[in-house]
Amino acid sequence: MALRTPLYAEHARLGARLVPFGGWDMPLHYGSQIEEHDAVREHAGMFDVSHMCPVDIEGPDAQAFLRRLLANDVAKLKTVGKALYSCMLNDSGGVVDDLIVYLRGPAGHYRLVVNAGTADKDLSWLESHRTGFDVEIRRRDDLAMIAVQGPQARELTATCLPREMADSALELALFHATECGGWFIARTGYTGEDGFEILLPADHAVDLWSVLLDAGVRPCGLGARDTLRLEAGMNLYGQDMGEDVGPLESGLEWTIAWEPAEREFIGRAALDELRASPERREFVGLLLTGRGVIRAHQTVLSNGREVGEITSGGFSPTLQRSIALARVAPGLGETCEVEIRGKPVPARIVKPPFVRHGRILIEP
């Protein structure tokens, strides 16, 4: 039996196509995935992301614990509310999960938000490494989460919040969060647009969803969420990276805090080894110049030779072309082909992101 978020009945009422995702029944779309995608790029859309799992980590050793468990360094979080994106690695440098960690209090209170399908695994991983650390690890299944994204998202959300909360939400800098009365509002997202991700008590979720709907924010499903994040060049766990492919080969080197050198985070030794290896594969963006649609797991060719694999692919509504993320052999140059249904189709190698803040960032 799949899990249901507190907004399940709202999705059904709005005519959503519900699909299984990470153990949950989630909306794929509410009619047109492309219209939902465009709404986020041009106006404002909202996503029920209550399937994602908040985990609070507190205690005297919370910072030391997370500096051991995460490849990025939570010591960079100097101000309360600041967020950091990080991978949590296994010993071989593969990714257990990718997550966002927030600093919640000066005394070392942290909140992680991890993926739905990996939440149980993540919790066991955290628990199995807590020996010697004085920390409390608390899974927050009592919280729902709504992401409001798009150029109008912040303004419209503010009209739906109590005055005091609205003011502090509008003052948030990028990648910062504020808390008030059990609500946690972060200026973060997974679409390449401005906006908020709001964690709130599960029994408040329907009320917020309803006022956002009345304010003209369009409900959007996981389909649009995937094309938006692909255009924004953001990785999807389990697809672009996973237990067997780490951050160095999935475009996430920027999330590894190599300094200070003495910080021994899990996976570091394996990363150090791969870092200098000539075999290290590159993670690139592809823009299909021929006709068709690139899909995950298709083969990348260069001069007829197999040189890599598509990790995420699809049709970009903003570019009106097919785009992809791919892991390829180093030194390919500017073009390649993708084997689509048995035929090589030409593509250009580009640097993601493809789209940010409604603007196309690559040469068409």
Partner: protein, 130 residues
Amino acid sequence: MSNLPADLKYTKTHEWVRDNGDGTVTVGITDHAQDALGDIVFVEAPESGRTVAAEDACAVVESVKAASDIYSPIAGEIVEGNAALADTPDAINTSPYGDGWIFRLTPADMGALDGLLDAAAYEQVVADES
């Protein structure tokens, strides 16, 4: 329930067939099929002159979700692929039985149409799938 014109023939693989009365038939995918696929973003229609057998994969429809083969309901020769779908693939979503047609075919044997499903039988196929 999705739209199912009574004057068309259908296949288990969700194509519809219209007898044009001039020795040709037109083929597309059903309203149910387009709804299940989601927004259509790319269509590879067959080239004219190609000879196809019944159940040959002869066109490709790609939605935001996945690629799907379109099968020729009966044997014959392709008269024309719908070239307009190159620029407006979403016509399959908005008008699956009209502007969203995919190809025209001259059947090797018009009698083969009788072997296809009528609207009621196709409706049962859809009901059994869900």
